[in-house]
């Protein structure tokens, strides 16, 4: 009996013994806590929350019309409607997010490495027994965890409020779509985050890297579209003498070029996921449309349509991150 007690005691002490967490997770934890305590994050949180509640408020006001609109094949997806319905004054949440996402990513990452270097904390931390890449990875993971939690919370609030107000239970497909929407949002912010971390390694001044990141963002959202349409217009001969297939192929080219911008990828992906009746992201010919019933696609089919977009976003994120690794691993640490 006593030996049993002893062995039990041994077990409990072993169980209560907390092993020290690995340096990587320690760093992630510090990253998250320093973000949460910073004014910067509070401001961003306020901005995102304001946008979210504003657009949800508008959609709650118009939800009755949207759901009663039988001409719309999506009218029965109550929760998707909550996310996408607008009255024309305020854009829908996912549209606003294509602007806010970059801001969120950039502001969480633009001074990730260079401010630490300037403060002198970088050398001190790297002199501890941690791998150099863990620092970079912890910055990325920490911010991404924060963004992920933020979007998950917002989505859950939306669903909860929806259930509370309308009394309609959410369907599995809607839940899946909304969850994928949140994941794509996180990936989109992740792209901008890795871009801004890359710039924070490349430039020594945080102000410069912030400006560079905002420059890239402005270029991709405003000037890129204008530039592409100008180029395509110059390339395209007179439309009146072109055959239908030629017009179609030029249109396809235009879309392909536009999709090099991550914001386009994000818009495409979220639109398809949140509007089940969207069947194609490019132009569709009459033959393709012939015989098609205007009905919503299943979740799997919508996901198939946006898969290239999603992989494009992930690829862009990884490319930026790999480049940051390359730059950072060989960089001199002394200021």
């Amino acid at each position: 009996m006593s030996s049993f007690v002893v062995s039990f005691r041994k077990n409990t002490t072993e169980n209560t013994h907390v092993p020290p967490s690995t340096p990587f997770w320690v760093m992630v934890r510090r990253e998250i806590s320093s973000h949460i305590r910073s004014w910067r994050f509070v401001l961003l949180l306020g901005l995102v929350a304001l946008t979210f509640f504003g657009s949800i408020y508008v959609s709650f006001g118009n939800i009755r019309d949207a759901v009663n609109n039988v001409k719309d094949p999506d009218h029965l997806f109550l929760y998707l409607k909550l996310l996408t319905t607008t009255d024309g004054n305020l854009p829908a949440f996912h549209v606003l997010l294509s602007f806010l996402g970059p801001l969120l990513g950039i502001s969480l990452g633009f001074d990730a490495v260079n401010s630490e270097k300037q403060n002198g904390t970088l050398v001190r931390i790297l002199a501890q027994p941690v791998y150099r890449d863990n620092l970079l990875l912890s910055k990325f993971t920490g911010s991404l965890v924060l963004v992920g939690v933020l979007f998950l919370v917002l989505t859950l609030i939306m669903v909860g409020a929806g259930i509370f107000v309308t009394g309609v239970m959410i369907e599995v497909e809607e839940a899946l779509r909304i969850l994928s929407f949140a994941i794509i949002c996180v990936m989109y912010v992740g792209f901008w985050l890795s871009l801004s971390i890359l710039l924070s390694i490349a430039f020594t001044q945080p102000a410069t890297s912030a400006l560079a990141a905002i420059g890239v963002w402005l270029f991709l959202t405003v000037f890129y579209q204008i530039g592409i349409s100008m180029v395509v217009k110059a390339l395209v001969p007179n439309t009146s003498i072109m055959s239908e297939t030629d017009i179609l192929s030029y249109n396809e080219l235009l879309f392909r070029l536009l999709r090099l911008a991550p914001s386009q990828l994000f818009t495409d992906a979220t639109t398809t996921l949140l509007m089940p009746s969207v069947r194609s992201l490019g132009p569709i010919t009459m033959e393709q449309m012939a015989g098609a019933i205007p009905s919503p696609l299943s979740y799997k089919e919508s996901l198939m349509i946006v898969w290239p977009q999603v992989s494009g976003l992930i690829a862009a994120t990884f490319a930026c991150f790999a480049l940051s690794y390359y730059l950072f691993m060989r960089r001199e640490v002394r200021s």
């Binding site: 904390t121 970088l122 027994p129």
Partner: protein
């Protein structure tokens, strides 16, 4: 013989065509306080970074605690505490949180981490400033916190890069005393880099003078000064009670003393330059001639002269 705890072999680092560190060989034994002395830009920090594996050497190896710092930096960093010259802390955290963070990174168990942080804070005399944000710390306090930060991991080797930079004179003395005390009590090996001669002179067992990437000389103070001033003459300054009248009647007698080369008379002070140290004979002669000797000063060559001498040599 015991293996040296820090062993640098042919360590070289080039930045483009500039050789920051040039074929450096150095052994440091356990428990020693070694001072790396050199002007700004001599390559001291680069050498230190190579010892920690934070910079890759162009050629040569750095072994610290038996590990190759370039190929296995993690075990080296576990044993070595490094205090950089530009110390920075996370300003939005308190001093204790900063310390505990470093402790966590070193894998100190959660249960003892706070206790250990508090004990090192006490050791460096910051026990009353535990919960202050580090942004409110003064330079000297940051330096102390930096030392605490190094000590929390209980290192075998402590590397301090310009630890006395920006602290007031009394602070420096206190800080260096603390370092010496810790080294003696805990058997720590300390490598100290500085361009302040006097600071190094106060605490170091052995000094290496480092100019333009080259270690010109190493050894303790005595051997260093002996090496340089072997050929140089000694000077004895004798102060008398009364002024001497010029011309001085006993001048020739003093010049006849063994080894005396030159006499300089300035009212009550006589400077005797001689080829070797014969202070007693000189004083005896003064007494014999009935002079009232107030003071005798043998001019010793401090680190300043040594430093100056080496810099002159290296510049030529």
């Amino acid at each position: 013989m015991e293996n040296p705890i820090i062993e640098l072999r042919g360590l070289t680092k080039c930045y483009g065509s500039v050789k920051a560190v040039d074929d450096l060989n150095l052994n440091i034994q356990k428990g020693e306080i070694f001072g790396l002395l050199g002007p700004n830009g001599a390559g001291k920090t680069t050498t230190i970074l190579m010892m920690l594996g934070l910079t890759e050497p162009t050629a040569g190896t750095a072994h610290v605690c038996g590990y190759n710092a370039t190929t296995s930096p993690i075990p080296v960093k576990r044993k070595v505490g490094y205090m950089p010259d530009s110390l920075g802390f996370y300003d939005n955290m308190t001093a204790l949180e900063n310390l505990m963070y470093v402790g966590e990174l070193n894998g100190i168990p959660q249960a003892e981490i706070k206790e250990r942080a508090l004990s090192v804070m006490r050791m460096v005399g910051l026990e009353n400033e535990i919960d202050k944000k580090t942004s409110a710390y003064s330079r000297g306090m940051k330096q102390r916190l930096g030392l605490a930060d190094v000590l929390i991991k209980q290192p075998d080797v402590v590397i301090l890069d310009e630890p006395t930079l920006g602290i007031d004179p009394s602070g420096v003395k206190e800080f260096l005393t603390l370092i010496r005390q810790l080294s003696r009590q805990q058997g720590l090996t300390v490598l100290l880099s500085s361009h302040h001669l006097h600071h190094v002179q106060q605490v170091c067992d052995r000094v290496g003078i480092f100019v333009k990437g080259k270690l010109l000389v190493e050894g303790n103070m005595d051997t260093l000064s002996k090496n340089i001033f072997e050929r140089k003459s000694f000077e004895v300054l004798v102060t008398l009670r009364n002024n001497l009248t010029l011309p001085w009647e006993h001048e020739s007698e003093f010049l006849q003393l063994d080894g005396v080369k030159q006499l300089g008379v300035n009212e009550r002070e006589i400077t005797v330059t001689c080829s070797h140290d014969n202070t007693p004979e000189i004083v005896r002669l003064f007494v014999l001639k009935g002079y009232e000797v107030m003071g005798v000063q043998r001019k010793e060559h401090g680190l300043d002269d040594i430093y100056q001498k080496y810099f002159e040599n290296s510049l030529n």
